[in-house]
């Protein structure tokens, strides 16, 4: 098992290196230099700055500088457009916590609801409750999140004044949490719906299986048999969708962040691409890639633990 995990981690590091190269190439090949933001900038200034950031050298040399800095000095360069002269890592350091906080809390807040609705719907299959849950799932999945976000903000925040309109970064404790409720709600609709929908299907399959008949025969109540057997069996495949969901929620929060004025990673990504802040863009790409690789790794390893065939069967 340890060997398998080591193998996977090694493969991941290799993948990351390749991604780093690809990201660098793609970002540098993109048209647009950094210094055209201000038309008043003189030619002299542009020349001086190009030399400073190695932009006047051939691509392969730039790549050399970049890789050496990243690998040997853990230096991701400095931002040149978004926050001039600030180390890229320092910018990410400001942005990552709020994004993680918002997304993790909303994902974890969504899970119990998703599980609850899934179980309720499965137990009451084909009753009114089931159909109401299905309706909710369909609505949550099929309406774009910015519609919810704008609606929540307008009604809950503006019309009824129950909650703050925007996220408040300066507040602490309860006051800050209150300001996070609306963006969290808007973010959690999709996970709730997907978890509920998937769990319902899994549970229904399990409820109809033979071992549930056995559980019933040996005298367990319906509730006991669901909780102890069916649910537990359904949770294994659930991990397969819940963990990658994290990576997806993370990259999908862009619109929500913009509406609720959260200075998170989504907005930073679009802004840095738009303003050709190359080093920053590469670092953001790496951040997202790392998250997505880690989730894949966790899923793989957990499967490897649960199901030895995955370990053996990878080789053709």
């Amino acid at each position: 098992m340890v060997r398998y995990i080591l193998q996977r981690i090694l493969a991941m590091i290799l993948t990351l290196l390749i991604i780093l190269t690809v990201a660098f190439m793609v970002v540098r090949l993109m048209p647009g230099s950094v210094f055209d933001l201000d038309p008043e900038l003189s030619d002299t200034a542009i020349k001086a700055m190009n030399a400073k950031y190695h932009f006047d050298q051939p691509m392969i040399k730039q790549y050399g500088y970049f890789m050496a800095d990243v690998l040997f000095h853990n230096d991701w360069g400095t931002s040149i457009a978004m926050r001039p002269n600030v180390a890229v890592w320092d910018i990410l350091k400001d942005r990552i916590p709020v994004t993680l906080k918002l997304n993790l809390i909303s994902l974890f807040a969504a899970l119990p609801f998703g599980l609850f609705f899934g179980i309720v719907a499965a137990i009451n299959k084909n009753t009114l409750v089931d159909h109401l849950v299905s309706l909710m799932v369909v609505l949550f999945i099929s309406i774009p999140s910015f519609i919810y976000a704008a609606g929540l903000q307008y009604f809950v925040g503006y019309k009824w004044k129950w909650l703050p309109l925007i996220y408040d970064p300066a507040a602490h404790g309860w006051a800050q949490f209150r300001s996070m409720i609306l963006p969290m709600l808007a973010l959690s609709f999709d996970p709730i719906a997907r978890v509920a929908r998937y769990l319902r299907a899994e549970l229904i399959e399990n409820i109809n299986s033979d071992y549930m008949l056995l559980a019933k025969a040996k005298g367990l109540t319906f509730r006991q048999s669901i909780m102890r057997h069916a649910l537990r069996n359904s949770m294994v495949p659930m991990m397969n969708i819940i963990i990658p969901m994290f990576a997806e929620v993370l990259s999908g929060s862009l619109v929500i962040e913009s509406i609720f004025a959260v200075a998170g990673m989504g907005g930073l990504m679009v802004d840095s691409i738009n303003s050709s802040d190359h080093m920053l863009t590469v670092a953001i790409l790496m951040f997202y890639s790392l998250i997505s690789l880690i989730t894949i790794l966790i899923v793989d390893i957990s499967y490897g633990i649960v199901d030895p065939r995955v370990r053996m069967g990878v080789k053709g």
Partner: protein
């Protein structure tokens, strides 16, 4: 069957939502005459208790009107701490407060609020005009030798940064040395070396070709500095040059604190740790890209003009969120985007100002793949075929068939706008704004004949914003209708703004970089001649391949010529340059952008409306509690 019901339920819900959103209540006949008007309070907490507000009937004279016009009895002088906090909202982030590297104009506004500067524009004592006067400088620069090339600036004594460190000649010299430093390669260095005035030896030093001693910047004593210029200048020009926000003073201690080992960059102004204020306000707390709290700086030289206790700025990207914050009373004023203007057209809180910029279509007239763009008749056909009135109405702007914006002053002494002069009026068509479809068609057909082509197929690139998209779609449609879709076809291509700008400006290396695009230069409103630098052959970030010796000569005469101060010379030059660009349709002016603001009743401006260079004067406003 159950699932069918489910779908039906979805549809019904959809219909209900539809009903809710259209928000039309049942019909009521006619106008209800017996309306009761009540005072609307901008405070969120008070909005609930409308019964407390004074009620007046529509028929009787409004007492509220009288109330608001009567000035509140207040002390004539602000206290050292000031009173009331101005709440602002911004879609932009600051990026950096370092005046020598800042990126956007929003950042420059904040830098000016927090940093001392030698000279700046202020509202005069009566509140009805502006003066360019010293802030750190005690008085206007002195022409020591009388040849207009050596200028001494006396500094005020006793000025300090917020921590009590003195602001003196060393501060100024350090600032100038760093902005030009060749290893730092600060992006604002080039402008300091040469813009309105050219400082002797500065450009060479900035490019690393000479050493600091050869630069014409000297410290005379602790409170006097000297500038050597290349050409003959007057005091007004020296002050204008130094009043650019990029020339705000920096603090040596903190500038050095943020410097890296090989002195190639500094963290000055990137976070509260690397910042010290010396302007009207100082930073109390600053969370990058989120919010900034400023409080009044009692050490500021004109602290007796600052009424506010502080300014809070929140970064909010989404404009409809901004609107809701304003209506909720969380923000004191906001800029209204054109697509929301329909809702606020008649709002008494609406304020409109010039934005100092004429939006125009740029043409790559030297494109080898599209020789028709080089045809003057074709360009004129586009010029006369542009329906400026409609385009301006779409954006709540002013139709413009001219280049110098309406607020640009040609004669400071009489405060005469160029557009109000006879010369300025002669260049425009006040009725149709040079929209003449018949003439356009005629010119278009002539151009086709001259170039020997049957049809034209062009591409226009535009910034991916709603306003540019709408305008591009409109000109596409109207030109195609006008010239005939079989003869004229326009493709549209959206791009992020930095990418578009770069593509347009890459024509010197790639002659067919673009065909048509949009642009809008803004420049200082008190020197309309200076604004024509964008079309001279020596301007480096030119949009269009326009090279004309006569134009260059006219520009040089207006900016540097020995006779430029003579009566009417600059007026004539500005008129000539504008005429040259328009007569040959080098660019196609479309409209003048107007800025619209909503201001809460809570804020009282201390000046008579919007003014050139100082804007609305938010820094000097009062808060009514």
């Amino acid at each position: 069957m159950k699932k069918i019901k489910r779908i039906l339920a979805v549809l019904v819900t959809g219909a209900l939502v539809a009903g809710m959103l259209t928000g039309c209540s049942s019909k009521s006949s006619g106008v209800d005459e017996s309306l009761t008007f009540s005072e609307e309070s901008s405070e969120a907490s008070k909005a609930e208790s409308s019964s407390e507000a004074s009620e007046v009937s529509a028929a009787s004279e409004s007492s509220a009107a009288a109330e608001s016009s009567a000035p509140a009895a207040e002390a004539d002088k602000p206290t050292p701490e000031g009173s009331g906090t101005l709440n602002e909202v911004s879609a932009n982030t600051i990026g950096s407060l370092n005046p020598q590297t800042y990126i956007n104009s929003y950042a420059s506004t904040q830098i000016r609020r927090l940093s001392p500067i030698l000279y700046d524009y202020f509202v005069n004592d009566t509140g009805d005009g502006i003066v360019l006067q010293g802030e750190v400088a005690e008085e206007d620069p002195i022409d020591v030798n009388g040849d207009g090339k050596t200028w001494q600036i006396k500094l005020r004594q006793g000025l300090t940064w917020e921590n009590g460190d003195p602001i003196n000649a060393d501060t100024v010299m350090y600032t100038w040395k760093e902005v030009l430093d060749p290893t730092l390669a600060n992006s604002r260095g080039g402008n300091f070396a040469k813009d309105v005035i050219e400082i002797a030896g500065a450009e060479d030093y900035y490019e690393g070709k000479s050493d600091w001693d050869s630069v014409g910047l000297k410290k005379i004593d602790d409170y006097t500095v000297e500038i050597d210029t290349v050409a003959k200048q007057d005091a007004q020009e020296v002050m204008t040059h130094l009043s650019h926000p990029a020339n705000c003073l920096v603090n040596e201690e903190y500038y050095e604190k943020g410097m890296n080992a090989d002195r190639t960059e500094t963290l000055y102004g990137t976070s509260a740790d690397y910042w010290i204020s010396g302007g009207p306000f100082k930073i109390e707390s600053w969370q990058n890209d989120e919010e900034i709290h400023m409080v009044k700086n009692p050490n500021y030289v004109f602290a007796d003009k600052i009424w506010l206790a502080g300014i809070d700025i929140r970064v909010v990207e989404d404009t409809s969120t901004q609107m809701q914050m304003f209506e909720n009373g969380e923000v004191d004023y906001i800029a209204v985007p054109a697509d929301s203007m329909a809702q606020y057209e008649e709002d008494p809180r609406l304020m409109t100002s010039y934005s100092n910029c004429v939006r125009h279509i740029v043409i790559n007239s030297a494109d080898p793949d599209q020789p028709i763009l080089g045809n003057e008749n074709f360009r004129l056909a586009l010029f006369y075929g542009t329906d400026r009135k409609t385009l301006a109405d779409m954006n709540y702007g002013i139709p413009a068939d001219y280049i110098v914006p309406s607020n640009h002053i040609i004669d400071l002494a009489t405060n005469t706008a160029f557009r109000d002069t006879e010369e300025g009026k002669a260049n425009t068509d006040p009725v149709n704004y040079s929209y003449d479809p018949d003439k356009a068609k005629e010119l278009f057909n002539k151009a086709l004949e001259e170039t020997g082509v049957d049809s034209v197929d062009l591409t226009m690139i535009y910034n991916d914003t709603a306003a540019y998209k709408a305008m591009s779609e409109f000109v596409q449609n109207s030109w195609q209708q006008l010239f005939g879709e079989d003869k004229f076809k326009l493709e549209l291509q959206a791009m992020p703004s930095s990418q578009r700008g770069d593509q347009v400006r890459s024509w010197p290396t790639n002659p067919s970089a673009y065909e048509l695009s949009w642009a809008g230069w803004s420049s200082t409103s008190l020197m309309p001649w200076n604004a024509f630098k964008y079309w001279t052959s020596f301007y480096t970030a030119k949009n269009e391949p326009y090279i004309n010796d006569e134009f260059d000569a006219t520009f040089n005469e207006a900016c540097y010529g020995d006779n430029r101060f003579d009566d009417g010379v600059r007026l004539k030059d500005v008129d000539k340059m504008e005429d040259m660009l328009i007569q040959h349709a080098i660019i196609i002016p479309v409209n003048e952008i107007m800025d619209h603001y909503l201001k809460s009743d809570r804020v009282e401006l201390t000046q008579d409306g919007w003014m050139n260079e100082v804007g609305w004067g938010w820094n000097f406003c009062k808060i009514k509690e």
